[in-house]
């Protein structure tokens, strides 16, 4: 079987491999190479070593600022999204009437694209701030909390669906045994339910973390970084470095490489961290 199939590489594997090479792998290696070069287009490339990586931090303070803004945003949203979605999941697994309708409604915002979401929330937040004579771009903290609210609105339903499935999979005899032993609500929650859904918590933490870190569309549509790039997140900062002004493509590419490393490291760290916790329990 394996021997015969082996000859069919060109038919089965090649289409995918070619697309993958063209759309991802070659651009990826080119990107890494170009991060060490000065260039405006691919015809005029000059090797400059690690200069771009230094420039990323020295040309202006925007990249460092975007990094902190993104970190703060990610920490806040990871916590709030997971707490809210887990709480809602607990409420929706009590066997109440209408549970399915609530689940359907809560999940819906997730399907709406980032650009559309950004504009929707811009109107709402500006509408609220109107009472105080402000707009979302008057102060970076409005943009920050606006993004946090938007992100929660979009992601809570999604994570909730995952938590609901996990809670429903907890063996009922485990919960019954706890009840017979006289364990209270919070004891059951912390010592049985949460450990039992730990794998889902791993997944949700991982997903909210990378979602927050990679956020772009919502950032672009909600504030586009205003005021004065104070609400610019990493992805948008990289985009603006590339396309905002000419001559900084190399710096943008260096920023993108560092961004990729950060995302990859976080992904691996987080996975390892929460996986080891699962074993302890």
């Amino acid at each position: 079987m394996e021997k015969t199939l082996k000859k069919y590489f060109a038919l089965f594997a090649l289409p995918g491999v070619i697309c993958f090479l063209l759309a991802f792998l070659i651009p990826m290696f080119m990107g890494v190479f170009l991060s060490f070069c000065e260039f405006r287009n691919l015809a005029d490339v000059e090797w400059v070593g690690i200069k771009n990586y230094i420039s990323a931090f020295t040309i202006d303070k925007n990249y460092t600022h975007a990094l902190w803004f993104t970190v703060k945003f990610t920490v806040v949203t990871v916590i709030s999204i997971n707490v809210l979605s887990f709480s809602l999941a607990l409420l929706l697994t009590k066997g109440l009437k209408g549970t399915n309708i609530f689940r359907t409604i809560f999940f819906m915002p997730n399907l709406i694209g980032g650009i559309v979401l950004g504009w929707i929330w811009q109107v709402i937040i500006n509408g609220v701030l109107l009472n105080y004579g402000q707009t979302i771009v008057s102060d970076p903290k409005y943009g920050f909390w606006g993004l946090v609210i938007l992100m929660n609105w979009q992601n809570v339903g999604y994570m909730m669906v995952i938590y609901i499935a996990a809670i429903q999979n907890i063996p009922t005899d485990m919960l019954e045994a706890a009840e017979i032993d006289g364990a209270g609500y919070f004891r059951t929650l912390f010592q049985i339910k949460i450990p039992a859904v730990m794998p889902s918590i791993t997944i949700c933490l991982f997903m909210t973390l990378t979602n927050g870190f990679k956020l772009f569309d919502q950032n672009l549509a909600l504030t586009a970084g205003a005021p004065a790039k104070q609400t610019e997140m990493l992805a948008l900062n990289i985009y603006n470095t590339f396309y905002g002004r000419i001559g900084f493509e190399g710096v943008g590419q260096a920023k993108a490489v560092m961004f990729t490393i950060m995302v990859a490291v976080i992904a691996l760290l987080q996975l390892r961290l929460t996986r080891s916790k699962e074993i302890e329990h």
Binding site: F12, L25, I115
Partner: protein, 279 residues
Amino acid sequence: MKTTPRVFITVFLILISFVVLFPIIMVFINSFKGSLFISNAPFSMPVFEGNAASYVGLDNYFTGVKKINFFSAFGYSLWITVASVAGILIVSSMLAWYITRVKNKLNSIIYYCLVFSMIVPFQMVMFTVSKMANILHLDNPIGIIVIYIGFGCGMSTFMFAGFIKSIPLAMEEAAMIDGATPPQIFWHVIFPMLKSQAITIGILEIMWVWNDYLLPYLTIGTEYKTIPIAIQYLRGGYGAVDWGAMMAMLVLAMLPVIIFYMICQKHIIRGVLAGAVKG
């Protein structure tokens, strides 16, 4: 005793539902109001008569559709989504079958590269991909399908491969003994078994491609605008936004998504759960 908290929880959940639906309802209501009334009084209902009449009927829809050429954007979005997702499903299911059944170094390298691509943010390759698309003449609504297949095949091959590993080899071997060639085995034995997987993966990819902004914007955006690109274009040069047209276009942009959700809700939720397992 036990009924009081139950009623309380239900009331609470209804309140949350309202909070969740509020932005969508608000955009819908505002899409019938004049631009000035949207930015000055976004939370008020349209006024139909008198000096402060803010109701403009479908005017916003007409201006918006004309301004951003909505139906052409809808067409591009639909074509790119359908063609890309179909392409991703076919290409990656074949690739997944091949690399799980033929064990060698090259195939495991391909597999790990695909897994790696799942965590790389688009900003890493956005410049080089758009240049590449330009050089290879993939910067059109047909060429972009190739790019989407390349990007999408990481996750979908990974998910297909995970499932194919659980299919016993015996069936394929039996078919082979009966004289079936690998393409016949794939299309008649393997692919039918991947059906529910394909629906799940397809839904995840549809949600991604339909809403994607940056990739189409950088590769084909100046000539061919998908819905997110068209909406973003409503922002004028100096931040001036025609709020009336914007509200109407947001409604039109959300409508297909909500209809899709109503029809495929079960599959979508299942897709989310399956997609979550990949982490």
